[in-house]
Amino acid sequence: MGSRARAILWAQWRTLWNHFPRSNRFGLAFTLGISALWYGVVAMLAVGAGVLLASPDQGTTVAKLLPGALLLALLYWQVVPILLASTGASLDVKKLLAYPIPHRELFGLEVLLRTTTGVEVLMVFVGAFVGLVRNPRLPLWAPLALIVYAAFNLLLSVGIRDVVMRLFARKAIRELMVFLFVLLAALPQLLLVSGMGARFKVLIPLTSSQFWPWIVTANLLQGHFTPARGLALCGWTAAAYWFGRWRFEGGLRVDAHESATPVEPVGSGSGWWDRLYRLPAAIFPDPAAVMIEKELRVLSRSARFRLVFLMGFSFGLLIWLPMTFGGSGSPDSWVGRNYLALVSSYALLLLSDVLFWNAFGFDRTAAQLYFLAPVPTATVLFAKNFTAMIFITLDVAMVVLVCTLFRLPVSAGKVLEAYLIVFTVSLFLMAAGNLSSTYNPKPMDPAKSFRSNSGRQTQAVMMLLFPVSLTPALLAYLARYAFEVEWAFHAVLLFFVILGFLVRRIAVESAVQVLGRRKEAIVTALSQSDGPISG
C-alpha cells in the first residue's frame, strides 16, 4: 500500500477516533446495541456455515445448498445496498482529487471499502472458509476459491456502485431508473403469474450454466477442479476488475457540480404544484403553515427523498408480489389478503428513515434557523410530523394506484385498513423519531440519492426495530383472528391510536427540552462533513 493510501486510512482513523468521545451517548449506545444484535445473528450464521462445511458427511446437502447460497451472497452484496438506497462507505474523491495521488492507489482503497456493503457476507465467508479448511475430505486448495469469489464480489461492487450512483445522480433519469429496475426485477415473476413463462423455458439451460461464478465456485469449493472451472472463476474476477476499474476511472472524471445541474425546481412557478404547496396555509396559521410548506418543497426536491418515495410504492410491490401471487403463494393466503397493508408498511419503513428517525438530517446548517426564529420548538416538530403524514398518505395512495393499474385485488375496505395501520404505526414512529432526531441528528446530503454510510443502522432498524413498531398492527390482526369479528380489529387499532397520540405528546415535550438543551450540539452535528472516507 502506498504512503498516500496509508495517509488516507490514518486520517479516517483519526476522524473516527475524534468523533467517538464527542458522540452522543444515547446515539452511541443505540448504534452499539443494534450492531451487537445484528452481528450476533450474522455470527451465528457464520458458525452454522462453518459447522456444515466442516462435516465430511454432509457432502450431498452441501452440493445442493452451496450454489444457491453463493448466489444469495452475491445478491446480498450487490443488490441489497440498492434496495436500501445505501451504497456503503466510499472515498470522498471530490476532496482527495486535489492531491497528487495515483488513481491505482485510490482504486485499491475503494475496493477495500466495498467490504462495508458486504460485511455480513464476509463474516459468513470466514465461517465457511474455516469449515472448508477443517473438512478432511477436501483438498487444501479448495477453500481458496472462496477468497477469489470474495474478490470477484468486491471488484464487481465497485463497478456497480459507480453505475448506480451515476444513473441515480440525474433528475428524471433517476426516477426512470427506479421503474426500469422494478420492471426488470419483476419481469420473471410477472411472467410466471401471467403464465407466459413457458415461452421462455428455452432460457432455463442458460441460467443454470456451469460457468456462472457461483456455480463454478461451488464446484471448486467441493474439490471438483477442472481447468475450465479454474479459468472461468479467474475470468469472472478479471472481468469484474476491468469493469470496476473502468467505472472507477469514469467516476473520477465526473464533476460533482455537473450532476447538480441547475434545473427548474418542482413548484417554483405559479402552477398547480405551487398551489398544492400552499395548501397547508388554508388549514394552519403561520408559522406552522409556512414550515410545512418549506418541508414539502425541500423534501420533494431532494434526490434522496424522491428515490425512497418512489421505492416505497415500487420496490414494495416487487418484494411482496411473488409471495402473494406467484409460486406457492395465493391471493387467499394471509399475505395475499393483506397485501396492501404489507406494501404500505414497507413504504412506511423506507420513508421513516428520512421522515422520522433523522427528521433534521436534510436541514444541515439551516437547523440553526429553528433556534433563531421566534418559533416554538414544538411547532417545528409538529410541522415535520405533519409533513411526514402527508407524504405517507401520498405514498400509500400511489401503492393503491399501482395495484389498481396492475389489476391486483384492491377494495375500499382494504385501502382503509392500510391507511389505518400506517397511521397508527406512524404515531409511534413519530414519538420515537422525534427523540432519535434530537438525540442523534446526522447530516444528510439531499442531493445524493444514495446514502454513503454502510446502512447498518437502517438494516438493523428494518430487522429489529421496525417489527416492534408494527406491534399495534399485529395485535389488531390477532384480535380479528381470535374473535373472528371486524370490530375487534378496529377496537385494538383505536386503542393504539389513543395511546399513540399520548406517547407522541410526551415524546414531543421531551424532544422540545432536548432541543433547547442541545441546540449547539445539534447545529454542529448537522453542519459537519465526513473524513476522507464518507460513511
Binding site: 488516507i8 468523533h19 482529487l97 455537473e258 459537519q528
Partner: protein, 250 residues
C-alpha cells in the same frame, strides 16, 4: 526562458446546456501575483476548479508550469498549493491532524509532515486551537488552515479561491505579507476574490471574467482609465451600472 505559470486556451465548461465558462483564454507569467475577478456566477470558481483538476473541462487546454493538464496531473498537483473553498477540509480532524494529512498526501515523511504542521499552526496562530476539530473552527480559522495546508510542501504555484473570506484583519494581514514574500521568492499566485482592496494592494496583474469569458486582462494601471478607482473600472467592465429602484416599504 520559463514557460508561463498558467496558460488557458479556449476553455469551456458546460453544465447541462448552460456554459459556466465559455471560451476562456488566459496567460499568467511566473512570479506574478494574479487577481481573477468577476461578479457572482461569472465562472471564477468553475475556472479555478478546472485549474485545480477538481472539474473536467468540456473542451479547451490547460497548461500549468509548462505541463499539460490532465496528462501530467500528478506532477502538476505535486507542485501546486491549493486553497479551495472550505468544503474540502475534513471537519472531524483537528487542525494539526489535517495539516499532517495534507503533508503526507504530498509525499512528505510522516515526521517532516508533523513538524511542518506544528510550525505552520504556530505561524498562522492556530496552535492555541490545535486540539480543536476543524468543524468547530470559525470561517477565518478554516481559511487559515486551508492556506497553511497549501504551504506544507513548498509549492511553486498557488491557486486560491477567496482566501481572505471571513478572515479577521490581523489574520488577513499575516496572510497577505506571507503571500507577498512567496511571490518575491518566485512563486506564482492566482487568486479569486471579491475584495478589491486586496487586489489593489497585492496583485501585479488582473483579469476580469464575465459570463464565462475574460473581458479584460492587464495591470491595474491598464485597467483603470483616468482617475477611476478599481471599483469603478470593475463596474464599467462588467456592465453593472444600473439605477437602483427604491422599495416603497423599505
Amino acid at each position: 526562458m520559463d514557460s508561463p505559470a498558467i496558460v488557458v486556451r479556449n476553455l469551456r465548461k458546460i453544465y447541462g446546456s448552460k456554459p459556466a465558462v465559455d471560451g476562456l483564454n488566459l496567460e499568467v507569467p511566473r512570479g506574478c501575483f494574479f487577481g481573477f475577478l468577476g461578479p457572482n456566477g461569472a465562472g471564477k470558481t468553475t475556472t479555478i476548479r478546472m485549474l485545480m483538476g477538481l472539474a473536467t473541462p468540456t473542451s479547451g487546454e490547460i497548461e500549468l508550469l509548462g505541463l499539460a493538464m490532465p496528462a501530467h496531473a500528478q506532477e502538476i498537483k505535486q507542485r501546486m498549493g491549493l486553497v479551495p473553498d472550505d468544503t474540502l477540509l475534513f471537519d472531524h480532524l483537528t487542525g494539526s491532524e489535517f495539516l499532517e494529512f495534507a503533508g503526507r498526501m504530498y509525499g512528505l515523511e510522516r515526521n517532516t509532515a508533523r513538524q511542518r504542521a506544528a510550525e505552520l499552526l504556530h505561524l498562522f496562530e492556530l496552535d492555541g486551537s490545535a486540539r480543536k476539530l476543524i468543524g468547530e473552527y470559525s470561517k477565518g480559522m478554516r481559511k487559515r488552515t486551508a492556506m497553511a495546508a497549501s504551504l506544507i510542501h513548498k509549492p511553486e504555484l498557488f491557486l486560491m479561491d477567496e482566501p481572505f473570506e471571513g478572515v479577521d484583519v490581523v489574520g488577513a494581514r499575516l496572510m497577505k505579507e506571507l503571500l507577498l514574500d512567496l511571490v518575491k521568492q518566485g512563486s506564482t499566485i492566482f487568486l479569486t476574490t471579491h475584495v478589491l482592496e486586496v487586489v489593489e494592494r497585492l496583485c501585479d496583474q488582473v483579469a476580469i471574467i464575465h459570463a464565462g469569458k475574460v473581458v479584460v486582462q492587464g495591470t491595474l494601471a491598464e485597467l483603470r482609465t483616468g482617475t477611476e478607482t478599481l471599483e469603478d473600472a470593475f463596474v464599467r467592465v462588467v456592465g453593472a451600472e444600473r439605477p437602483t429602484e427604491p422599495l416603497d416599504w423599505l
